[in-house]
């Protein structure tokens, strides 16, 4: 009886089983990694998009601010404020102006000025 039982016993190769387990685990891990990394790519894509939107919004805010600065510091706006009395300016008196000798202006390609003096005959 015992002998017969022994005969019907199917032996399992530990090495083979281990190989299959490792292989399966490797495949499972690879698959899961693939899924995880793909999801990460989607996630990073979404983050990239969110950051792009944020940068675009910041750029837009910057442009709006630049436009406001340009409008508020424009000559017309400043003159308006001057008229309103918000800004005060005092003209510089002639005796307060110290004139320095004007440096020679060397403009490229400029036609040289002509001195108008009495024509000597």
């Amino acid at each position: 009886m015992t002998r017969a039982r022994r005969k019907s016993w199917n032996s399992v190769g530990a090495a083979s089983l281990a190989r299959w387990i490792v292989l399966t685990a490797f495949l499972a891990l690879t698959g899961l990694s693939y899924v995880y990394l793909t999801l990460q790519l989607y996630h990073l894509g979404d983050r990239k998009k969110a950051l792009e939107t944020e940068v675009a919004n910041l750029r837009m805010q910057n442009e709006v601010a630049s436009a406001q600065i340009a409008a508020l510091t424009s000559r017309s706006a400043l003159q308006h404020r001057l008229k309103e009395g918000y800004l005060k300016m005092i003209p510089i008196a002639e005796h307060s102006i110290v004139r320095l000798t004007m440096p020679a202006r060397n403009q490229e390609d400029a036609v040289q000025p002509v001195s108008i003096q009495r024509v000597v005959k």
């Binding site: 989607y42 894509g45 709006v64 436009a67 409008a71 706006a77 004007m102 403009q107 040289q112």
Partner: protein, 586 residues
Amino acid sequence: MKWNSRTRCAIVSFGFVLLFSAFSFRLIYLQMIKHDEYAGLAAEKHVIKQPIFAERGTILDANKEVLAHNVPVETVVADATRLTDVEATVDLVTRELELPRTEISEKLQTDRRYIVLKREVPKANADSLREKLRAQNLRGIYFEQDATRIYPNGVMLCHVIGFTDFEHRGIQGVEGSMDEYLRGQDGYRYIEHNRAGQEIVLYRGQERAPRNGFQVHLTVDLNLQNIVENELDVAMREYSPKKATIILMRPQTGEILAMANRPAFDLNQRSEAKPEQMKNRAISDLMEPGSTFKIVSAAAALNEHKFGLDSYIFCENGVWNYGGTPLHDHAAFRDLSVKDILVKSSNIGAAKLAVSLGDQKFYEYIRRFGFGERTGVELPGEIPGLIRSPNSWSKISITHIPMGHEIGVTPLQMATAMCAIANGGKLLTPRIVKSITAGDGKTISSLSPIGLRQVISPHTARQIGEALRGVVSDRGTAAAAAVPGFAIAGKTGTAQKVGPNGGYEKGKEVVSFCGYLPADNPQFVGFVVLDDAQAKPEQNYGGLVAGPIFSRIAEKAARYLDLEPHEEIRKAIPVERVALTNSSRH
């Protein structure tokens, strides 16, 4: 045939082979033969070419002050097929965007998929509407990014800057002429989106970055422009002319330092402007220049050595019958030197100078000074003026053209001709664009002066300059154009106005003054013209109306440019004049 198990297996296997072969062939047909077609169809469903709009370049003045730039705005659009609650949406949109309810209600109660509700909505308003739509869970309203052009200085320099249309194409002024550089180049990106319409960044395809428009730097100095505009406004209040123009130019380079016209308009409210307000009269209006044109006949006669500056010409005691028509002077002059012909502005003297040259030669000089052709300034809509060729002149044309009649010029042509006198006889192309740079400051193009031709010799230019110096003196017609401390050269002009039906209109004059400062080393040329100024008849002359305007502008401009006054001239100015000028400054 025996239906044993083997046969049945073979039949079933054959069936499977056939079935899977059919699948395989179908797969090959779909994946290889019809691949492009179906890939295209799929792409149409999911892939879209998303434009990335280039930013329009800014326009700056010579000191890098901003004249035109962009501000982000949004366009609010609706898809009527996706509205969840039309009534609530209409309520919210009309309230937030301040739009008429009936109009929006009509628009949204259709099945159109793209309805523009409002353009150029400020970002803050768009954000507010977006938040409220989200809070009320209303769908079907979308926002598109856009930009609009703003002009911080409003009316100032409006004709030069110009404006764009709603598609951001420049259609007037520098916006129009430099549109190619300002516009930039839009980029694109191929994107895929999911069923909710959101981009799947992972599948982002080919991409090309936009190239933003270049920055255009003008030669105009806003400080000088401001001086000119303020004086023009004062002149408009004082004389109420139909139209007026002032130009300041640098004679050595042809750079336009200031250019202003009236009537004018606000660039930020251009939809309300009338066509006559939008016209840049400095380049697109014909005017008979009057006596300022005498510089041409005098310069031509001196350059051709027909006369010397001090040669005397008999001026017929005020009336000269030529070609059966009497020609009058404003006073009875007997003998005048060529210099005094300009100083006293004698019509007969100028006519005799032209007659000495002959029709053909005189015409040649008119053309050499640039009249009858476009100056080539970088502004759209310039006209060439109106100069008839000598074979269509009447017998008396040679006596009328020297005093600025029977000829049509633009204010810019007149200022350019005066620049030629001031710079030693060289005709330059006037420039309004100084340089073009990229956003990072790299210079794309730097525009140097363009010398067209030597019109007259430097010696002749000096002689004319000396004569013009006499015009702005107690002996001349433009004593009121003087500036304390500076020697000024210039010429007045008073021309009767040509009526719409031809012929001259009585009592209506075009008064002008064209001059430069300092006379011995010109830093700027100025031209002032007022059309139909409402002055007393005895005062409606170039020297009395346009001259003082030039004087005020020149004085302020000289201060701004820090030109050094000549002490001896300063001392020579009467105290009352200085006091008057000083008081008028404040």
